[in-house]
């Protein structure tokens, strides 16, 4: 019983962490430009002088 309680809590905390990360990503605008993100990985930044 204790094991189960512990595991249930753990799963909720982990799931909640995932939710929090998603909400943070949404708030910081990471989903605003999905087309751009898909294209950007094709280009390297030139070396900084």
């Amino acid at each position: 019983m204790t094991t189960m309680l512990f595991l249930i809590l753990l799963s909720i905390v982990l799931g909640g962490a995932g939710l929090a990360v998603f909400l943070w990503a949404l708030r910081s605008g990471q989903y605003d430009d999905l087309t751009g993100a898909a294209n950007r990985i094709l280009f390297d930044d030139p070396p900084k002088p």
């Binding site: 019983m1 189960m4 309680l5 249930i8 799963s11 909720i12 799931g15 909640g16 995932g18 939710l19 998603f22 909400l23 949404l26 989903y31 605003d32 430009d33 999905l34 087309t35 751009g36 898909a38 294209n39 950007r40 094709l42 280009f43 930044d45 030139p46």
Partner: protein, 788 residues
């Protein structure tokens, strides 16, 4: 004749191999590396910055604007800059000419070399560039110039349209979706444990624990993620109406309450999983719907922004200042260059020029303007530069008058009740009645305990909760909107599809709708091709609308060197002249009705090029297709009867009206609607705005006046009329798929309802049935993706 001109002539006539400009990819004069000095400068700049990789990586889209620098636009940037308390400035501009990922890379790398810039980032989805910097606002000019030098056009957004596009609703919906998804998956985990326990033998204590865990996750999630539905249900109930959100809200709230009571009592069944996953499924539908429509709206807004133009206001000291049209004070002197669109209503004080007023009045032939003539915002100056004194702005302009007519027409139009709400009006009372009867039957007739009767009644509510029904319409809308979007058709309104499907009469405007928005060269078979190519070589240097038509008609040509533009008269290169009758023409020739250009060559008679309006390439075919779909076609134009009659005859349109004022057009549309017709109005002019608003549903080409584009439900891009027929076809198919979906979900309810009334529904059966019916409806909607 100069050697250059002679050489160009021989090239033009024999159509020697053509080379493409190394920068913009357009045709370059015989064998040259660049088409113009601007492109050469851009190429040098890019290579100088060490960004030459751009040319290897890019893919030029044929339908996008080529990256050719055209630096004759100056914007009043200051009005669009937002400065925060710390002195940090932000400017958002629309980027015209963005082709692919390489463009984004090029712009950002070029900006990274500008000092003082904190952030310069392109959003490829919305095609916007956001600039952030500290210090003086004047720096903006420099950053904008750095990007324009590369060949892109940057147009500032006005603050109002930018705020409107922030899209708070979309974000709130996605957050609700995330919370519902999190809760649904976790609640489902403990539910599956409970269901397995039914078989394997789970003790009541463990089951109770699982129910409590579900309750603690589900209840806050429902309170948060259910808000979009609760709010909408509350709003319509307060007005004494009902929609699909009412049964959803009642169902979810009741189910949660009963499940909570069961959990407290230590009962066997709790339905938290059903309640949460119901919200999750419905939110998926809402989010997709919102995203699809938001994309169409953003694209429509971009179209309007790209065409906005600033006004050159003459200052007391003789200099000019660029101002936004709405910032121009009455009495200010405004300079209008050749080929430019007039930005304000006013009176001409100096200069003589023909004006193209087709977007304002529907008149296809240019009208002459001279000192004292009243001109309206939206007309295009076809001749020499004009000076216009701005008259009263605001409520007195023609635009404001049209907006008033539009508002009046919209108020008379009446609200359209969407299919889903019409179903909900019958569905909600039926379901709630069935649940009450079930309760009474179990309690009174079967003498069951109150709690059991209540639980059975709730099972009825859960099983009839309109999950599939609520998805039936949005799922189709998302797919139809997406399909049309790919074809350049922007569906702005959520209810437009249903209204389009019912259309039985189409009213077309003529000028700019059935015909192309620019005047075309008249080719009656006697056209001198060689002369045309030479004329086009001269005209390639000019931005004048007639010059552009000439170049377009001639096909790829070699631009001549050393072309001088003589204001108000024409173009000259050596002894070659292209321009007005007085400048280059034969004064003795018979006067023509429409606009004309003359080409004068030494030793040869002058050649006249005449221009007239031209039907869209597929107009005949589209009108025939619409007729075969069983639609009545009416042509209503503000133009002269001869011009309208000729077009109507060509297209085989029997019913046509000419010389219609905006008020008469509205009256026509409203009379048709009073007869019970469902009218689709297709128009582009300012004068069509009110009738667009009065029609059941409306469409505009992307070249339409701003007001018309704002009012229209559908905007189609490109030079063809075919999208009108395509939209109607897709709408009709969408409507029939919506009907099938509703029948499917009602059939599912009809099968499950007796089981629920008998009390044989268990939570796992409810969850499985609900998910499968939703998936069925979504799957059916995807059939719309297939081409007919």
């Amino acid at each position: 004749m100069t050697a250059a001109a002679a050489g160009a002539m021989s090239v033009g006539m024999s159509a020697v191999t053509q080379s493409l400009c190394a920068h913009c990819g357009q045709v370059a004069p015989g064998g040259a590396r660049f088409c113009c000095p601007g492109c050469e400068a851009a190429f040098t700049t890019i290579q100088g910055m060490g960004l030459g990789r751009y040319y290897a990586e890019r893919v030029l889209a044929p339908d996008a604007r080529p990256p050719r620098p055209e630096s004759n636009e100056r914007w009043d940037l200051v009005r669009s800059i937002a400065t925060d308390a710390k002195g940090r400035n932000e400017l958002v501009v629309a980027v015209d000419g963005l082709q692919c990922g390489a463009c984004v890379w090029l712009i950002e790398q070029a900006l990274a070399r500008e000092p003082g810039l904190v952030a310069g980032r392109v959003n490829m989805t919305t095609r916007r560039l956001r600039l952030v910097w500290d210090g003086a606002t004047g720096q903006a000019e420099r950053y904008v110039a750095a990007v324009e030098r590369l060949g892109y056009r940057l147009i500032p957004y006005n603050a109002a349209s930018l705020a409107a596009s922030q899209d708070r609703t979309g974000r709130a919906l996605i957050k609700a979706l995330a919370v519902a998804g999190f809760a649904a998956s976790n609640v489902m985990l403990s539910s599956v444990a409970v269901w397995a326990g039914l078989v394997q033998g789970m003790g009541p204590g463990t089951r109770g624990l699982m129910h409590w865990v579900s309750a603690l996750i589900a209840m806050p999630a429902i309170a948060y993620a259910g808000q979009p539905f609760f709010r909408s249900a509350f709003a319509v109930l307060r007005r004494g109406r009902t929609n699909m959100d009412v049964p959803i809200s009642i169902g979810v709230v009741l189910v949660t309450a009963v499940s909570l009571a069961e959990t407290i009592r230590g009962g066997e069944h709790a339905y938290f999983d059903s309640a949460v996953s119901l919200l999750f499924f419905l939110l998926i539908g809402r989010v997709l719907d919102h995203v699809a429509r938001g994309r169409a709206r953003a694209a429509a807004e971009q179209l309007v922004t790209l065409r906005a133009n600033d006004v050159a206001v003459l200052q007391a000291d003789g200099s000019t200042q660029r101002l936004a049209a709405e910032a121009v004070a009455p009495g200010a002197m405004v300079l209008v260059a050749a080929g430019e669109r007039i930005g304000v209503d006013g009176v001409v004080t100096a200069g003589n020029a023909p004006l193209d007023a087709s977007l304002v009045t529907g008149e296809s032939l240019p009208v002459a303007a001279g000192p004292g003539t009243s001109v309206f915002a939206g007309t295009v100056n076809l001749g020499a530069a004009l000076t216009v004194r701005a008259t009263a702005t605001g409520a007195a302009t023609l635009l404001a008058e049209c907006v008033r007519l539009i508002e009046a027409a919209e108020a008379r139009r009446g609200r359209f009740v969407v299919l889903a709400d019409r179903v909900a009006r019958r569905y909600a009372p039926t379901v709630h009645l069935a649940a009450s009867l079930t309760f009474l039957w179990w309690w009174l007739a079967m003498a069951a305990p109150v709690s059991q009767a209540l639980l059975t009644a709730c099972a009825v509510l859960i099983i009839t909760c309109p999950c599939a029904l609520a998805l039936a319409v949005p799922a189709v809308q998302v797919i139809a909107t997406g399909r049309l979007f790919q074809q350049g058709i922007l569906l702005k309104s959520a209810t437009a599809l249903e209204r389009l499907a019912e259309v039985d009469t189409v009213v077309f405007d003529k000028t700019g709708t059935l015909t192309e928005p620019v005047l075309g060269l008249v080719d009656d078979g006697t056209l001198d091709r060689a002369a045309l190519r030479i004329a086009a070589g001269l005209a390639a240097a000019s931005r004048h609308p007639l010059s552009r038509s000439l170049v377009e008609a001639a096909g790829p040509v070699v631009a001549l060197d050393d072309v001088r533009e003589i204001p108000g008269q024409g173009l000259q290169a050596g002894a070659l002249r292209l321009g007005s009758r007085a400048f280059a023409g034969d004064a003795t020739a018979a006067a023509a009705a429409g606009p004309e250009l003359w080409l004068a060559r030494p030793g040869q008679p002058a050649v006249c090029f005449r221009f007239d309006e031209r039907l869209r390439a597929d107009a005949v075919e589209t009108v025939a297709r619409l007729k075969s779909m069983g639609l009545a076609i009416i042509l209503a134009s503000g133009d002269r009867p001869e011009a309208v009659g000729r077009i109507a005859a060509t297209l085989g349109i029997v019913e046509w009206r000419a010389a219609q004022s905006p008020v008469e057009k509205v009256a026509l549309v409203e009379r048709l609607r009073a007869e019970g017709k469902r009218v689709l109005m297709v128009g582009d002019g300012l004068n069509d705005g009110p009738s667009l608003a009065a029609a059941s549903v409306s469409a505009s080409p992307a070249t339409a006046a701003d007001v018309s584009q704002t009012v229209a439900d559908v905007i189609f891009q490109g030079n063809r009329l075919g999208p009108v027929a395509e939209t109607l076809t897709v709408a009709r198919r969408a409507k029939s798929v919506m009907g099938q979906n509703i029948v499917l979900s009602l059939a599912y309810n009809a099968i499950m309802l007796p089981l629920a009334v008998c009390g044989t529904i268990t939570p796992w059966l409810a969850a499985a049935a609900m998910s499968s019916s939703s998936l069925l409806v979504m799957g059916n909607s995807f059939r719309l993706r297939r081409r007919a």
